[in-house]
Point group: D2
Chain length 306, copies 4
């Protein structure tokens, strides 16, 4: 099929390439034209374009335009596409990490222009180029049918790694929960490996342990594979910071659990430990020490560090 | 090699069978002789015995005796083996889920008799018979060398799924942490699936989602595979209770984190949510309601349920 | 001073009464006129009115109107007051438990009509009538100055229990955090008392313990006083449900911690344990059991309960 | 009455003084005789002694000896007292922060010598000298009766702040839970104040807020009073470290919750956040970053800090 891919970052570029390798025609746009050209190099199926006007004139209607841009700029991208001539019958797929509620609002707004919208959660990271992605998409049957050849080309397991999970919103909702679970799993491994590292009495070889767990144990997983690889490169992970970033989806998952009244202690703590990792001189600690000093009779002074 | 397996439960029976299929000679004991006979049926490499005296006379010294018994009866089993004639130079491997500190004590006690001891964490569940196990073993080089042919036969990935992780204690310590992580991962999945089930607006098909996540997503894992299988059998898991049992290792992991002063919020909450699942009419809730009634001016009475 | 109080529920009725006892003139409105009359009975300073038109004609401009209504109906109440003739220069104080962001929006909207707005967090429960309230109010100096005689009359500690904590929004923000802390403290006590109740070996008298802690211990607090009172009435709290309700402020506190990227594990868990108390047959537990059955080889069936 | 106090640290010295002020005769011992002399100065009721032999010869049998020493040296102190001539019928009270299980073992050991033992949890900090303590004591009726005049002298609220809560062990068990709750309450306040400090939009005056909450709010408590005092001295607590120490009781509380199978998420997280405050370059964070780098395709390098 023929479609456009907007956003030639690591994910979008790889996806355009994977589509091209499967024989699909991809009109490729990036805010930096050089980036789009670099992705297109060697792939005659990929046509880089310099602006949305060209993108729209290049693609025959009804168009399918797949967005792989940061969630902060999805709205401005859609507005620009509308201004560039997007037409009734066209389809926009948001494949990035947007909040599902925003997707629902976008669908309503685009519907008033007769434009279809689908929201697609995309998992697989940089390995997706080679192995394919896990794709969970929400939208109407019409929209999903139209884009299904691309979904099959992108999907892992010989094209089986995608599912139409529900109406618009459902795709990003399911991806949001996926990422919430991912946070929990990562923190579980992190705590376990930290415990083993702290048990100096046994002088454990964490790389060896990660590798033996990969073979038949209950915690076998892709995340464990990645951990084993990292430990093989750098056994003490000395080159890595302990400052843990987070993107929006972990936060939205907790907000959702609060809205639904569902307890998610593990998912929440996984996120909050990321927040904690970014604090220097946390005020909470000072407040606790102020109270301890108060009843213990110590003057207000720094707690002693051994 | 020739060794004895004590305890023909699900794990021990399967391990005896796997060893036999690899050509090793196994003297098999169970408290119920019929069980040992059933395991031995059709495997001429397995010799069931009726008591420890026979077990010891059957095995040529130096003997290797692998215990797969509940951790509560490991000490009494060792005592009975000593009484039955265990000799200096023999080796006991505790392959069950014992506390690593108990293993360290057992090693010291057995050392005074000149008997070797190794502690082996065994992961893989019922799938180990077919796929092999992930084995993490602690003990001296002498002990591990002697038992290594059996380890190779039992191990997953063509015999590579085992590792000598350290001195006695290290095997069960590593397995303990493995199980702690397993608790965290399971609770992470559980919270995520519960959130999706609660989001009635999307009417999500959890089986479909589990299956698409199996294909290329970051949360790909054996635990997800098992979840997908269960959802395929029973989409709403209606046949399952929400009462979550726990064995000792999750608890020991938290005790260890407390001893080491290492924060493990995810592992801890995963365990404590199991405790919570077993409470009916929790006193904590009544205490909160007593306070709410106190400042809100309600008389002491049941909180209203909608 | 002269002011109107809208909402004669437990809080609003008591506050009107306390204002009257301090000599202030209160125009009292409730959706149920009988309720307003009952509050006014015996207090010539309280004038019940049947509708907002009468309320507005009764109060000389510039008016001060204090709302003590559920946060869900604050907007409709304000709209009705505007329709009834609220004028430029008038002041609305929202003294209920609204979200501070809504207060900020209301202030902007009312400002376009020249109407002042202040948001007041009110703590103290039913004891406020006798002991006075703890009031944390946000708004302009003009607004707070005008209402300050009422604040002094309502406040605990001989009128000192109020503070102008910042601009509009700050009052309800501080009250929100207050309630978040309250949730944490309540859950801390609840867990401690539950532990003591579960320690059957000591057969502890919880009422006696609560009472001795009231006298000089570090956990001395009003919440402990309330617990001691409740235990004195009903030592096992048998008459209370363990089903814990929650109002919005605990939830908003967690959402705020997520927005700010500040870890609040204790406040969050206090809220989530309330969610958990309301679950019957939690799906999360079934998912965990599905996995346990999967690797343990049990058929899909209810976990055994002892 | 006449009794000995062993350990003239902040707690023991204050308690000896409070007993003396109530007219009781106190034989005072400290490892540093100068310290005992300093406590005795100006109090003819306090007699400092240089060693246990003198202590025992000074006190008429049956003796009451109150220990206020670190829990690590209670056993060695008891051994030294036995060697110095402690006799059948004497009574030892452990008033420090020992683990209740150790108290139970000590009682059994001393019982074989005919010596009574009581375990007394003592709360109140440095304010106990002036205001009295909250005392929760375990032991036999004979033991508690004998020491009751001292308990009354030490107790807050005109001697009412003590209770005989159960057999030996119960005193320190109840104090352990008290401290667990204290941790939870402190962390709840700390999280709340941290949230308010982080909300820069409102530029909140935390000292003012603490003070208004002291007057009639639901979170009124001694811990809030201490926080208000500290904020009055140092509004940003700039002089305090955020490194939070912990003593044993918080840990024992969690171990107990694990033993009993009772969920204590708030008490546990309060402790674990203390652990976290002491980590520099936490390995857990590196493990999370290793996985994120793995699936995101970043080379193994420090996460970027903004």
């Amino acid at each position: 099929m023929q479609l456009a891919m907007v956003g030639m970052g690591r994910m979008g570029g790889n996806m355009a390439t994977r589509l091209a390798l499967a024989g699909h025609s991809v009109t490729a746009f990036d805010i930096d034209f050089n980036t789009a050209q670099a992705v297109a190099a060697g792939h005659h199926e990929i046509t880089p374009v310099v602006n949305f006007t060209t993108l729209i004139s290049t693609l025959p209607a009804p168009r399918s335009i797949w967005l792989m841009v940061p969630h902060q700029v999805v709205d401005s991208t859609i507005t620009a596409l509308l201004e560039a001539g997007l037409e009734s019958g066209d389809l926009i797929i948001d494949g990035g990490n947007s909040n599902y509620k925003e997707g629902q609002e976008r669908a309503l707004k685009l519907e008033s222009h007769g434009i279809h919208f689908a929201d697609c959660g995309t998992s697989g990271g940089i390995w997706g180029l080679k192995n394919g992605y896990s794709l969970m998409i929400g939208g109407s049957d019409v929209a999903i049918d139209r884009i299904s050849p691309a979904l099959t080309a992108l999907a892992a397991n010989s094209g089986k790694g995608w599912a139409h999970v529900g109406p618009v919103g459902a795709g990003h909702f399911v991806k949001m929960v996926h990422n919430g679970i991912e946070y929990g799993m990562m923190q579980a491994f992190a705590e376990g490996f930290e415990l083993m590292q702290a048990k100096s009495e046994f002088n454990l070889d964490l790389q060896q342990i990660a590798q033996v767990w990969q073979k038949g144990s209950v915690v076998s997983s892709w995340l464990l594979d990645l951990t084993a690889d990292a430990l093989q490169q750098d056994g003490d992970l000395t080159s890595l910071s302990d400052w843990m970033d987070d993107s929006g989806e972990g936060r939205w998952t907790i907000n959702e659990s609060i809205d639904l009244g569902i307890p998610t202690p593990v998912l929440t703590l996984a996120l909050q430990m990321r927040f904690r990792s970014r604090q220097k001189n946390a005020f909470a600690g000072k407040v606790v020490n102020a109270m301890r000093a108060g009843f213990g009779g110590h003057p207000i002074k720094p707690a002693e560090k051994p």
